[in-house]
C-alpha cells in the first residue's frame, strides 16, 4: 500500500514536467503558414545581383565555380556586345547555372566573387518534384532589373566595384521584408576582406 502511494507521487512529479511545457513558449511553428526567421548569415538559395542601373554584377569570371567544393556551379563567359551590355566591362556570363542539389551551401562562391554578384539569401524553400528543376539558371538566379543595388563601376574594368563588401548589407534584395536588417553580415565581410588586404 505504502509502496503504491510512493509511485503516485513519482507519476505526478513526472507529469508536472510534461504539463509544465504546456505553459511555455512553443518551439515549433505552424510551417508553412508561419515561417522561421533565419539568421542573417543563413546560407540559403543563391541570388545573382545587379547594379543599381540594372546591369548584371556577374562578369563571368568563373571564380565561384572554381571555389565551389561541390562542383555545383557552371559558368560560361562571353564578350559583351557593344550595343547590348549585360555587365560593366568586357565580359559577362552567357550561362550561369547552379545545381542546388549538389550545392552544400558553404558560401565559398560568395567569398570568391570579385563583384559581390552571387550571394546566398536566407531563402530555403526549394522543394520540387523533378531533379532537373534544381538546376537554377540565370532566369531564376538573377534578381529583377529594378532590384539592383549599388553603383556600377564605369564601363571599362571588369574588375572591382567601389562598393565591395557593402552590398551585403542589403542582403537579399527580393526578400528584404524578412525582419533582419542584415547589416551584420556586411560588416563581417568587410572586416574579413580588410584583413585579407592588410
Amino acid at each position: 500500500m505504502r509502496k503504491r502511494l510512493y509511485n503516485v507521487g513519482a507519476i505526478l512529479k513526472g507529469l508536472s514536467i510534461t504539463f509544465g511545457f504546456m505553459f511555455r513558449k512553443r518551439p515549433t511553428i505552424e510551417y508553412p503558414s508561419v515561417k522561421k526567421q533565419h539568421a542573417p548569415r543563413f546560407h540559403g538559395l543563391h541570388e545573382l545581383r545587379r547594379y543599381g542601373d540594372g546591369k548584371e554584377r556577374c562578369i563571368g569570371c568563373e571564380l565561384c565555380s572554381s571555389a565551389c567544393p561541390a562542383n555545383a556551379i557552371t559558368v560560361i563567359g562571353a564578350e559583351n556586345a557593344p550595343d547590348d551590355r549585360k555587365s560593366p566591362g568586357e565580359r559577362h556570363a552567357a550561362r550561369y547555372e547552379i545545381d542546388e542539389l549538389r550545392c552544400i551551401f558553404c558560401g565559398m562562391c560568395e567569398e570568391a566573387c570579385p563583384t559581390d554578384a552571387i550571394v546566398l539569401t536566407p531563402r530555403f524553400e526549394m522543394a520540387d518534384y523533378r531533379r532537373g528543376s534544381f538546376i537554377y539558371a540565370k532566369d531564376r538566379l538573377l534578381v529583377p532589373p529594378d532590384a539592383g543595388v549599388g553603383e556600377a563601376p564605369d564601363e571599362r574594368p571588369g574588375g572591382i566595384p567601389g562598393d565591395l563588401g557593402r552590398v551585403a548589407e542589403i542582403k537579399s534584395t527580393t526578400d528584404v521584408a524578412r525582419g533582419f536588417s542584415a547589416t551584420h553580415r556586411g560588416e563581417i565581410l568587410k572586416t574579413q576582406r580588410r584583413g585579407l588586404a592588410g
Binding site: 568563373e62 562571353a78 564578350e79 566591362g89 565580359r91 570579385p114 563583384t115 574594368p157 571588369g158
Partner: protein
Amino acid sequence: MADNAVNVTLTIDGVPVTVPKGTLLVEAAKTVKQEIPVYCYHPKLGPAGLCRVCLVDIEGMPKLQIACNTPAADGMVVHTRNDKVDAGRAMILELLLVNHPLDCPICDKGGECDLQDYAMAYGRGSSDLVDPKTRKPKGVDLGPTIVLDEERCVVCQRCVRFDDIIADERQLVLKDRGVRDIIATSTGDPYRHNFTGNVTELCPVGALTSKTYRFKSRPWDLQRTQTTCTQCAVGCQMFSDVRYGVPLRTMSVEHDAISDGWLCDRGRYNIGFYDSAERIVQPLYRRNGTFVQIGWDDAFTLWGKALREALRARGPEAVGAIGGGRLTNEEAYLLQHLTRAVGSANLDWRAGLARQATPGAKGGTLAALDRAQAIVTIGEPLRERAPVLWLRILKAVRRGARLIAAATPAEAAAQCAGLAPIALVWDGVDPALGAAYDGAFAGFAEVATFIASEQGNARGAEAMGMLPAFGPGYAAVAPGRGTRAMLEDARAGRLRVLSILGANPAAYAPNAAAEALDALEFTVVSELFMTETAARATLVLPARGPLEKSGTTLNLTGDLLPLHASLQAPEGTLADLEMLIGLAQQLDVELPSAEDLERAVIAHAAKLPTGFGLGDARFDDGPSVAPPPHVHRTIFDGAGTAAHDPRLTSLRALEVGV
C-alpha cells in the same frame, strides 16, 4: 670536359656551376634549378633588358644586375634570392603594376599569367600608388586573330621581337613612348600573317589574346591532350584544350626537334569545324539520285556487296582505293592490306597536287636543316605550304645559311658551289623538277632532301604502302594504277568500285574527276563534310577528324608521331579504322591484330627508303594539272575544313576574299 678556354665556373646560390662561356646568368641558373623571373627574356628571342624583373645580386657589384643580359663569368658569386634581390624585384613588380588594370577575373590569361605568378611569388602585395591609373584602350582589334588590351601590356616587346626575329614579318612595333607606349602595326593595317597566334603564347601577360578563345573559358577548365597537328606535313606537336567537348584552343608544345615551339595559324585556329552543323553524322546512300540516311550495318553490307560483285564479275582490276593524308598510319596500312588482300594493286594516297612525299635516299632530318649552309627551295613558297618548316629555315638563315630560290637547277647548284651541307626543300609537285634538282645536286657531298607535302600524313601513307608501285616499307611491288590512272579507268569503264577515304580528288580536277566519279558503278567516300567528291559518291561514310581519333602519323622527315584523341566524336561517325574493320568482315579478309598492326606500323615507319631520290619515275603518274583557284593556295583553307569553321571566317575573308 672542363675546358677553361670555353667554360666558366661560377657560384649560384652557393652551388658551383660550370657553363660554356657566354652563357647568360638566367640560363646558368636553370642548371641549378633556380628559377629567375623573366618577362622580356625568352630563350628563343634572347635578352632585351626591358622588364628588369630578373634582378640578381652579384658579389662585388654595387647594384643588382639583370640575369637575362649578364653573361656568366669565372669566379662570379651570384645570389638569386636574398633580401636585396627580393626588395628589388618587389619594387620592379610594383612599377610594372602601376598602370596594370588588375582585371584578372575577366582576363583570358588569368590563371596562367606570369605577371600573376610573379606578383604572388615576389610582389609586395600592396602598392604605394595613390594617383589614378593611366587608362588605355581595351579590346583593341589588332587583326583577324588577335585582340590587344593595351592596359595590361608590360612592354616586354616579346611580340615585336617575334615578328622581327622569328617570323621575319616586322609588322608589330612599339608605338609612342613612356606611359603612352602601345603595341601596334607599323602601317596601321590589321596584324596578319601565318604565325600571329604565337604572340598570344609569348605574351607573358594578358595583353595579346586570341579572338577565337576570347572569354570562352579559364585555363583550369580545359582538358589538355598532347597530339600532333595534321594540317601539313611538319607534324608540329600541340596541346588540344577542350572544354565540354568543344575544342577551344590549341597551344604549342616546346618540341625543339620538330616545331621548335611554334604553331602556324592554320594549325592553331582551324579547330572550329568539329562541331559544325554541316558535318555528316550518318551514312548516306544515293538512291534514285538523292541521298538517304542509312545505318552502318547497311552501309557495310552495301560496300562489301559492291566490292564482291565487282571482283567476281570483272576481277581485281575493277576495284581501287584512294586514301588521303587524313588517314593515320594504321588506317593507311589496313586500307592497303585490305585492297591488296583482294588482289588489287589500285592504290594511291595522292589526290591533290603532290606527287611524292618521301624524299628517299638522301632524306634529311630537321636537325640536318639546322646545320645546312645553303637551303634551296624548289616549287611553291613554303610559308603557305609548311609554315613552321619555313620558320626553321628562317632560323637557319639567321644563323648564316644561304636561302636559294633559283630559276633552274643548274643555277641553284652553281650558287651552292663550295657550300656544305646543303638542304633541298621540294614541294613534291612536279616530278621532273624534283628529278632535275636531284641530278644537279648529285655531285655534292652533303645533301639532305626534304619534301614539304601539302597533306598531313602523306609520308605515312607512302611508308604504309599506299602507292601503286610500293608496298609497305617502300617494298617494290608489281605496279597497279594510281589516282589519275584509276580516274581514267573509271571514265573508260574498266574501274567499277572506288573507295576514297579522306581525299577530295574532285577539288583539284573538277571536270575530269567528276566525269570519272559519275562513271563509276559504286563510289564510297569517307568524309567529315559533303565535299565535291562526296557529293558524287554512291555511299558517303561519316568520318572522324584528327582530334577525334588516336593513331600515329609520319611527318616529312619520317618521325613517328602520336595522335591522341581529345574530342568525343559525334554519334554516328566512325574512324576510318573502324570502317575498314567493318569492310574486312564483309569481305572475309583477315586483318592483323592490334598488336601486329602496331608492330607493322613501327617497323615500316622506321624503314628508310634508299632505292629512289626526288622525282623518281615510279612516283610519276602524269603531268601536274593546275588546280582551280583557292584550292590549298592559302593558309586558311586548311584541308577543306576551314570552309566549315565559323571561327575562321574572318581570317579566310582576308586571305581569299570569300
